[in-house]
């Protein structure tokens, strides 16, 4: 059995770790409310732009590269949303796992995926393994603002709009963690580009190849539920403005959901870590008591034994 001193020092260090975990948990839980507020505040804009795209889809004949390119190009872009900091349980590793699976699927379909990574943990993962990464963004996964969404949106939009021989891509997938509730967050893969504009009765089967891979689609109703529209200055100009903004707004939405999920999984991980630290301290205290008891018993036996020996000598 280890010495009492060893137990004492292990208990002390576990207790100080427990304090750190507990503090991290409290920080995370206070940030969740904030992350949710930020996500809610951005909702009106994304609703407005979604509505505008819907209105455009039902009133004009949409013809824009963003809705589908004619040229044949098997390069595709994949954006993985990981976290900047650790202590979030399996958050980053499950994103990386899903990303790898998606990359393999795409490659087996004969496509050439290009990887874009957001979040320091993901960047260092791929850098350590010397993998080719097209572009990276880091430093703002806790509270993603409009500016980072704009940067990512612009970079990917440019990659998409470039012709195939200049290294353009024909599709763009995003891997992120959806915030379902405080205890459940699910990794999801969405196809962002090309944007699907479809009639509501159309089944989703056509473009959903795997159960987890759904599309960023704009659903419109077949009948004219929208009144006649006028577009200023021209339908093409409006489309040129609205569609990139729509993509950017969708990316921003994903970033915000991912941030909320990151905070929630950090809180869960830290809660479990605090619990584990507590039970470890309990177990170590029990062992410390046992070892103290054992040493007392041993001392008593030694004293009694030696006293007996002395008595025997006198007789």
């Amino acid at each position: 059995m280890a010495s009492q001193l060893a137990f004492k020092s292990r208990i002390a260090s576990t207790e100080s770790l427990e304090k750190i975990f507990n503090a991290q948990e409290m920080i995370a839980s206070s940030r969740i409310a904030k992350a949710r507020d930020v996500a809610l505040a951005a909702k009106p804009y994304s609703d407005a732009i979604f509505h505008a795209v819907k209105a455009m889809a039902s009133h004009t004949v949409l013809n824009h590269p963003i809705l589908g390119k004619n040229e044949k190009n098997n390069r595709v872009a994949v954006l993985a949303l990981t976290s900047d900091r650790g202590m979030a349980g399996a958050y980053t590793s499950s994103i990386i796992r899903e990303t790898e699976a998606l990359l393999q699927r795409l490659e087996s379909d004969g496509k050439h995926p290009e990887l874009f990574v957001y979040g320091r943990r993901g960047v260092s993962y791929y850098k350590y393994r010397n993998r080719d990464v097209a572009a990276t963004w880091e430093g703002s996964t806790d509270a993603p603002g409009v500016d980072i969404a704009e940067k990512i949106g612009t970079a990917l939009y440019e990659a998409y709009m470039k012709p195939a021989k200049e290294g353009g891509v024909s599709e763009f997938y995003i891997v992120f963690t959806e915030f379902i509730n405080m205890v459940t967050q699910k990794v999801r893969i969405i196809r962002m580009l090309p944007v699907e504009v479809e009639l509501v009765d159309d089944s989703y089967e056509g473009h959903v190849q795997k159960d987890k891979r759904s599309s960023a689609s704009v659903t419109t109703f077949g009948h004219t539920s929208y009144p006649l529209y006028s577009f200023e200055p021209s339908p093409e100009k409006v489309l040129d403005y609205i569609l990139p903004k729509y993509v950017q707004s969708r990316i921003h939405e994903c970033l915000l959901t991912a941030a909320a999920s990151e905070t929630a999984s950090r809180q869960n991980a830290m809660h479990t870590a605090t619990d584990n630290a507590r039970s470890l301290v309990e177990e170590l205290t029990r062992k410390l008591n046992a070892s103290r008891q054992a040493s007392i018993t041993q001392e008593l036996t030694e004293i009694i034994g030696s006293a007996d020996a002395l008595n025997n000598e006198e007789e």
Partner: protein, 89 residues
């Protein structure tokens, strides 16, 4: 103009990261790409791009103005939605 007198429309001004203002207005002037564009209640449905300038909102008892760098407006069913790229206020 007579039939629009006293009528109001719902106006929602939203920036990319948060809602800016919403309320009832009697008229709104936006800096559309082709020049300033006035919107009165019961305007025909329109989707327009907004350039840099100032959005002026006339309510029943006050006037408000919002400087913007760009954005879009959408008017439908007597509701005007203004999506603003960058808000200064």
């Amino acid at each position: 103009m007579a039939q629009t007198a006293g009528r109001t429309m719902d106006v929602n001004i939203v920036a990319e990261d948060r809602p800016l203002w919403s309320g009832q207005a009697t008229s709104v002037v936006v800096p559309a790409l082709g020049g300033y564009m006035g919107i009165l209640p019961d305007h025909e449905p329109v989707l327009a791009i907004v350039g840099a300038g100032t959005i002026s909102v006339t309510c029943v008892d006050e006037e408000k103005s919002f400087p913007v760098e760009g954005g879009f407006i959408s008017f439908e069913e007597n509701t005007l939605t203004i999506g603003v790229d960058k808000a200064f206020c």
